[in-house]
């Protein structure tokens, strides 16, 4: 097998040095009754060529194998990825390297992640960003835990019902064995979080609001900041569409204490939901509370600029049972990818792409309205919006995917039972006017 270099001569001479007759002798210390009698049963090994054929066949069973137009977001976004991004990230010095615990030979990863941290602080308007987490949902759960641990008395965190349903579920899962509680903030008829209801909640350690929210609308972060301050609760702003902040005022500009969200939009392919990129950023005050790896700048013995993982004493390998999180791996390669993507976009590109996202979504909303769908919520949105559709749309949507290669929105009812026949649509820079006109026409048929 091409990954196993040992020849029979090699094995023989190595066994000789060790003092064994056969490879099986290497396991003599394992008690007989612990050894498996029947080995493992797996399909016969495939050659590289047969593997290609098999995987091609499997991949073809996904609709994405063929060209299609994506009008769906809900936490995973179709964006153009410039050729240089996969090209650069595939360099094996990035891809096959370990965590940079030996900084002298990991300056590539370390400087790259330091630059990523910096760019994320600019994107989110925060003081510090970590070297990344698994995804937006787990980053948000960590943020909720920070707010709960920090508070001297309160043990409840308020989470908007318009936070991504799966993110809310993760928070619930993480909090279950603890003494902490979650209270859900309802939403308004304009598609934003009901801040009046929030105002009536007391004894909160943290307030978690997603903006743009799951329905696509931009929340009133200024007002939320006032409420959080008045209630002495930590303000946590989450997001699923990182590109929104190429256009919108950043969470940091409103005084958010912790920003936590999903960075998949930053040059990372959708890949059926993972790996993505968890972004976590805080104020300087939070520095020692933020879990996860952090890269810091320093100098070497000759005074030259260099980078190291720092503040490691927060982490599990030192803190062990007292660590505030158990996180070990981050999503390093995805963070590097996002860094390369943000550098490629630059200040000009990110604004233009973000604006284009909104333009396309606005156009699509108007086009679908003309086709007979009903816009549901009034307030400003970024690149997603909710429409009420006729009864027959459900069947039509399946047909559109099967035969016209258009993924037309996602039904909200499974997440919000009160919203029957409501669909969440998305338009990014990848959908053309032609595509949108075609969709608008098809849904009328």
């Amino acid at each position: 097998m091409r990954y196993l270099p040992h020849t029979s001569e090699d094995i023989e001479s190595m066994l000789d040095i060790i003092g064994h007759k056969t490879l099986d002798n290497l396991f003599d210390t394992i008690p007989e009754n612990l050894r498996t009698k029947d080995g493992i049963t797996l399909p016969d090994s495939l050659s590289e060529w047969d593997l290609n054929a098999h995987m091609e066949m499997l991949a073809k069973k996904n609709y994405a194998a063929n060209p299609y137009t994506c009008f769906m977001g809900a936490g995973s976004y179709d964006h153009y990825i410039p050729a240089i991004v996969p090209y650069l990230i595939s360099r094996s010095e990035f891809m096959t390297a370990y965590t940079p615990y030996q900084p002298e030979i990991s300056q590539g990863t370390l400087q790259g992640i330091y630059e990523f941290q910096t760019m994320i602080t600019h994107l989110l308007g925060m003081d510090i960003a970590t070297a990344s987490h698994y995804d937006g949902g787990t980053a948000l759960a960590e943020a909720a835990l920070i707010s709960l641990r920090n508070h001297k008395t309160a043990s409840t965190v308020a989470v908007s019902r318009l936070t991504h349903p799966h993110h809310r579920h993760i928070i619930k899962t993480y909090l279950r064995p603890t003494r902490f509680k979650i209270i859900e903030i309802p939403y308004n008829t304009d598609g934003t979080t009901d801040l009046k209801a929030l105002g009536k909640m007391d004894d909160l350690a943290g307030i978690c609001i997603q903006s743009p929210n799951f329905f696509g609308h931009i929340e009133d972060l200024e007002r939320i900041r006032h409420i959080a301050t008045a209630k002495e609760a930590m303000m946590v702003t989450s997001f699923t569409e990182a590109l929104a902040y190429g256009l919108l005022k950043s969470p940091g500009s409103f005084g958010t204490d912790i920003a936590a969200g999903e960075g998949q939009s930053l040059g990372i392919s959708q890949s059926f939901g993972g790996p993505g990129l968890g972004l976590l950023a805080g104020t300087t005050k939070q520095m020692r509370n933020l879990p996860g790896r952090l890269v810091g700048k320093t100098t070497d013995t000759k005074g030259r600029r260099g980078y190291v993982l720092t503040l490691a004493t927060r982490e599990q390998h030192i803190r062990r049972e007292k660590a505030s999180s158990n996180i070990c791996s981050n999503n390093g390669l995805c963070a590097m990818t996002a860094g390369i993507y943000l550098a490629t976009l630059g200040k000009i590109g990110i604004r233009k792409i973000a604006q284009l996202n909104h333009d396309k979504a606005a156009y699509l909303k108007a086009a679908l309205t003309r086709s007979g769908f009903t816009p549901v919520f009034d307030s400003p949105f970024f690149n997603e919006f909710v429409m009420k559709v006729p009864e027959n749309f459900r069947k039509k949507r399946t047909d559109l995917l099967k035969n016209k290669h258009m993924l037309a929105g996602i039904a909200l009812e499974p997440f919000y039972p009160e919203l029957e026949n409501h669909y969440l649509f998305c338009a990014t820079e990848t959908v053309s006017k032609e595509h949108m006109d075609r969709l608008a026409m098809e849904v009328q048929k």
């Binding site: 020692r288 490691a312 004493t313 030192i318 803190r319 007292k322």
Partner: protein, 132 residues
């Protein structure tokens, strides 16, 4: 790391088995970590201290001292209320390495029971404990 005989352990103060020291003067007790502790930890990078006003019982954890590769909890030698913390350590945690009994003090407390000082170790007893 130093040898046992090289540690600086002043005669006129008390020690704990967790390597803290306590010095009483005019009803105020100053507390810190001793030369052995700072030497074991190595270069100290951060000191976490409690808020002024916090009340602790003897043996409670009152803060942490961090080096690059380790964190050490610090335990209060006697019960009392924190009346002052060494704010200089914010910017210069290395003071604990350089001068652990002087500029590198950690907290000052008003003891709730001064007699607790008597049950702390003197230098000889502390050194015995280290050797054993």
């Amino acid at each position: 790391m130093k040898e046992l005989s090289e540690y600086n352990l002043p005669e006129d103060i008390k020690y704990t088995k967790d390597h803290e020291w306590a010095k009483s003067a005019n009803d105020v007790v100053t507390i810190g970590i001793n030369d052995y502790a700072q030497d074991q930890l190595g270069e100290i990078v951060f000191v976490e201290l409690p808020d002024v006003g916090t009340v602790f019982s003897k043996g409670d954890e009152f803060g942490t001292v961090e080096s690059v590769k380790a964190v050490s909890e610090i335990y209060i030698p006697i019960s009392g209320e924190v009346i002052q913390i060494n704010e200089a350590l914010d910017n210069a945690p290395e003071l604990v390495n350089q001068s652990c009994y002087d500029a590198g003090w950690l907290i000052k407390i008003t003891p709730s029971d001064s007699s607790q000082m008597d049950s702390l170790l003197n230098k000889a007893a502390y050194m015995d404990m280290l050797k054993g």
